[in-house]
Symmetry: C2
Subunit: 408 residues, 2 copies
Amino acid sequence: MEQQVLFRAVVDLCLLIALAEVASSINARFGIPRILGTMLTGILFGPHLIGGISIGGRPLIEFNELVYVFSEVGAVLLLFTAGLHMKFSDLLQSGIASLSVALLGVVIPYFLGLAAAILLGYSWYIGMIIGGSLAATSIAISVKCLDELDKMDTSEAKCIIGAAVIDDVLALSIASVIFAATVGQSEVSTLGMIQMLGTTLLLWFVLTFVSVKFIPRGLNWVYKFNDREGHLLEIVAILICFGYATLSGRLGLSPLVGAFIAGMAIADFGGLKDISTFIEKIEILFVPLFFVVMGGSLDPRALMTGDFVLILVLSLVAIVSKLVGCGLPAAYFLKDREKGIRVGYGMMSRGEIGLVIASIGITYSIISKEVYAALIVVIFLTSLIPPFLLKRSYLKESMLCEYDQLER
Amino acid sequence: MEQQVLFRAVVDLCLLIALAEVASSINARFGIPRILGTMLTGILFGPHLIGGISIGGRPLIEFNELVYVFSEVGAVLLLFTAGLHMKFSDLLQSGIASLSVALLGVVIPYFLGLAAAILLGYSWYIGMIIGGSLAATSIAISVKCLDELDKMDTSEAKCIIGAAVIDDVLALSIASVIFAATVGQSEVSTLGMIQMLGTTLLLWFVLTFVSVKFIPRGLNWVYKFNDREGHLLEIVAILICFGYATLSGRLGLSPLVGAFIAGMAIADFGGLKDISTFIEKIEILFVPLFFVVMGGSLDPRALMTGDFVLILVLSLVAIVSKLVGCGLPAAYFLKDREKGIRVGYGMMSRGEIGLVIASIGITYSIISKEVYAALIVVIFLTSLIPPFLLKRSYLKESMLCEYDQLER
């Protein structure tokens, strides 16, 4: 990239982050979740609205390649941070709970989506695309919310994060099955599907287990070598994070899952504090852009001209299915109704994987433009709601606590 | 950029930083300046040596586009930091000193280089290219050294930084004059040249003056708006930094000069601490790459097969001319011989502008391949020496101090 172009790109990038900071500050003042401000910045200043206004032949704010690069790096860092907050022992502890939440939380939305589509008169293939798009939770928003509310270390947060990661593993497998069934029109046997899911989950577990054993030892060695003024430890941590993101991409898992495993493996390391302080600082430059880009990908016209009945029905399916599919098992295992509901809230947001499945649908002409637009809007809506619900639920809790204290 | 390619690029980037950290840690243990470790990493693992080894059709470590982007961003951040350490009042105080050091430090190397070339039997045009290549100081290395030695706030450091920035302004003007004279073969009158230098310096001064007046006010406003959990202040600071880099590039100044002006304008702002803590952390990701890339640009074969006499003579010219041209006026104005010598050391390293002028020379067939190679080697050598000399000089001082204390 030419120097002038590069620096101009950095200016656009910083401008977007600054606008997002302003929006989230304003939100915070009105008690609205910050993260929604960041996403709203993306919608408002994205290519579909203000950012796209052409001034002197160039858009006012350009979502240039650097913005996309930083946003992808931001997503990886976000999941890495989630991993840093979660020891492997935590995961094992919430193991059965997370696994049940993930399994039911993928299966129920899938079948509810499929059923809704067929009741509305669509074909089975369209139903599979719709069900698939609504199956996978997008972990980024919930992680950011929990972080914002300072609740990352609660039992329900550990359950959400663990479940969301397993959900990601499951959803990717389901996506490839749907791809085979709809595009390849090939029969996939139930046994074959279970086999595939099992292999992926096993791969994930083995990778996690090995990493948790060896990474802290390696880092101890780095820690001893590092001198007071050096920053080797911090850099090696990021190196591991992106090494795992690359590796897990190669293995057919999501890069975000790899980043999470790397973080979880480092969570057991003694010098964790240095690393997390550093990541926290650099995240300022990367993470907001992920949500800004997410917002920018929504064309508000899709909302205006969409099929309202379809959007309404699918939104209900999306919300209720995760609330039931994740909330019920969570309430059972955590033995707390309110915590269960929170897990339902936390698993509600959909994202990238859903978008990918919807895109496959429209690219191969399986679904119509209207269905595609509806799916995009629904996926987007589901990511706007959880921050409100989570915030309200925790607010209620802290008010009850105060009330209890007054009573005594 | 595709996701897998991007994450792999981030891995290469982190690997280079990690290697640089290891090398600089080892250096620090043996009392060698850290920065040389970083540059050595670039040479060793750069495309000309280990990094270039092809494994499976791809280089072992790739200097991918992201590495270059980060390195350019690093250079800007480095000069921004230098600005943060220097208030406008400091610059005015060291004004005449810095201006004299810069002026003589550009004029003397230019004419000594020209004279040496003519004595060695080269033409006037070749002499102009050689003189021009040796005229401009590269500020990055000295700033990093002074920072490493924790001497950024001494009077000689302020003199070096001030002079190096003015030097940059002068050298860019000279470069365009040389370009006009050698490539365009057009006569440039002395009056025209002085006019051009004057205009550029004036432009620089006005820009600085206006910025120092208004930026702190703007930041105060941002500071008031910013909430405890937000990071608006830090982002706006970076926005200003790159805004100025872009602007000053457009005005025909170096982007680095713009970044310095931005830093200097912010230096007067009350909430400086928050900003500099943040910049310090993110620099870890960017600045080392600038020096790694600098190292990687040296092909060690150029050193092996070069014209030794030419290299020797030009190295001597390069070293002596800055030592005299900058050291003498500095010693006079700072009223301290040792500090004057340090300014000479600090102004010794050459870099980008020299390389650009040498490249113009070879691109337009004004200089031969041998002269070009010699210039590259000399520019490189001058950047290896100052870290040693500066470190030794400060070490001597601290030993003398201890001796004095013992005497009492």
